[in-house]
Subunit: 361 residues, 2 copies
């Protein structure tokens, strides 16, 4: 008798490298940088950075100074850009770990001038239509030629690159080209994240910033995913029991059995990052005779458990594993059922400390 | 000039104790146990357990064996119940940390019989209508009198205790009383979590399991919250900029400015556990002349940033803080705007490693 209670998360670093290599090829001749902010989308920044550094990656993007400091030991010679910029609460990380701030405004630039770090040439972010971080055209006009020449990269970010026909793509490209020609003639440029890589070469400039697609998410959903899934998340069945016609399942009794059924209680819930919006909606995958069987989630997802309909599974028992994410139910599939995007899903799941987490190397 | 980049989370342990004391009073003469599974709903199991142990709490509930082992050092004499039960992957934690499994089925009971730990008397969970974990009546009928007498507590869980008029409350109470009278005459019993505490005394039995309400969530939403908010979450403004009429904000350009506006880019996003469902929907709070000003979130919440409308704030600047959760916008308020429950919200937020996390003692 084998009984388990803990969810298990595996991340395949071999496939991560394959995804990176493919995106790098699509990006060439632009340099391929890796985006490992948010603990590498929850998958483990140190493991991911180490893997990619070994595979030759020398440019990394993180959101926060603290995140940059975490990966510096495994990426000693890399340039590590910090997208949220620099402040009093992160200055020490920049100094110790030799991080490169991405400067988003005249205010942050003043701060940088007062706190410069020898040998570090910051990048500058410019506004092209996303209306998130970045210098406006009016801001740029206030900078001296020396200031304009003091940046290692000029950076902007696309709002709608996952929809090639979206009007924002051309608009932002034109704005970026205009700004570059006017203010940053000789400064290397970077505009595209993973989704921009699948647009045409004009969007690539000198450096692409590879994140979501590298982690297996389809950032070009208008065509089949070219990336490999790198995540396997499974959780053990704690109990299998009959559910009689007319009985209810879960909090607030939102599911009522229309016929006699069989249910499995699986040891994973929203406390593990599994979205509660999968209630009465998502599916877990079991395997029967090596074929996937998609079993609907019944009632509400609770903090530690999810209940599913296993009426059609003949041999299921406690100790068997239900699969939440794998090649048969990808991150994108589960995110769709949860009415969100795979980015948010994996960010909440990946960081969870309750999993038995492992890496395939 | 003060610039910051990192979100800041504070948890008020003084108020936690006050909430616990009030719930304990409402529970008396039943014993008050603390539920600190899921890393104390993300707020830090060790800190919370230490605080409550010092305040006299001697009964704790966690979900997983590993979670029990984490708090054992700060709760040396407490009884620590493990709700997800016991398996091969958690057996060592039970042995080392002297944990008490909650047994949910005959299969798990067999496992326990093969792996008993001297000095530990398990609890038993019974099915009363939630159709989650628990022995069915048919299962119980198979147990010998000796087996039935071998448990420290008989436990079940209410599905709908946050709605006092819900038919499930009476149904589950009756089922629980029937099972107790038939099988567990002399075994102490526990049925209610926080929400059940606010139902009448019949639901309290010998032990109540205090979780959500202790953390400030209103588990009796049919009346005003008697609990104190214990959480303050704030994030710095990175940039303030104009947004011209007709311009768009954020991914997929889902917000279009109907007039000239002013926006603030705040350094927190779904990568920090802030639900993406707040896109174009939630609010952040700023303070002007000591009064809260609720500023709508514009466009999509992104991984590291949220953009909000600060047109009506005269003096806002980079380095100011936006409040996401505090006494003016509680967990319940933010969860409502995110179309979820405060339990899921705090579980995703609390565990995030990117915050500067502090405790008020």
């Amino acid at each position: 008798m084998s009984l388990y209670t803990t969810p298990v998360l595996n991340i395949n670093l071999k496939k991560l490298i394959k995804n990176f290599e493919l995106l790098k090829k699509l990006s060439a001749p632009a340099t391929a940088a890796a985006v490992i902010k948010d603990d590498a989308y929850g998958l483990g920044a140190v493991e991911v950075a180490k893997t990619l550094y070994t595979a030759g990656c020398r440019h990394f993007f993180v959101a926060h100074g603290a995140e940059g400091a975490v990966i510096r030991p495994v990426a000693p010679e890399a340039e590590i850009f910090v997208l949220q910029g620099i402040g009093e609460d992160s200055l020490e990380f920049f100094k110790k770990a030799r991080l490169t701030p991405v400067i988003c405004s005249p205010v942050v630039l003043s701060f940088w001038h007062q706190n410069q770090i020898a040998g570090i040439k910051p990048a500058i972010q410019v506004e092209t239509g996303l209306n998130r971080l970045g210098f406006t055209r009016e801001d740029l006009e206030q900078l001296s030629p020396e200031e304009l020449n003091s940046f290692s990269y000029v950076l902007s970010h696309l709002s709608s690159a996952d929809e090639p026909a979206h009007f924002m793509n051309e608009r932002q490209l034109t704005n970026f080209q205009t700004i570059k020609n006017r203010f940053f003639k000789n400064t290397p440029a970077t505009l595209s994240a993973s989704d921009g890589v699948f647009l045409n070469k004009e969007f690539h400039f000198n450096l692409t910033r590879l994140g979501a697609a590298m982690y297996g998410i389809n950032t070009a959903p208008y065509r089949e995913n070219q990336m490999q899934n790198i995540i396997e998340l499974k959780a053990p069945v704690l109990q299998v029991k009959p559910l009689k016609k007319g009985e209810f399942v879960g909090y607030s009794a939102t599911y009522r059995a229309p016929v006699d059924m069989k249910i499995a209680i699986v040891s994973i819930g929203y406390g593990d990052g599994l979205p509660r919006s999968l209630s009465n909606h998502g599916k877990v995958v079991f395997y029967q005779d090596n074929h996937p069987v998609f079993c609907p989630i019944l009632g509400r997802v609770s903090m530690d458990n999810v209940i599913c309909d296993v009426t059609n599974l003949k041999d299921i028992k406690a100790g068997d594993f239900a699969y939440l994410i794998n090649d048969d139910q990808t991150l994108d599939d589960l995110a769709r059922d949860a009415s969100t995007i795979a980015y948010e899903l994996i960010s909440n799941i990946g960081k969870n400390p309750r999993f038995i987490k492992s890496y395939t190397r």
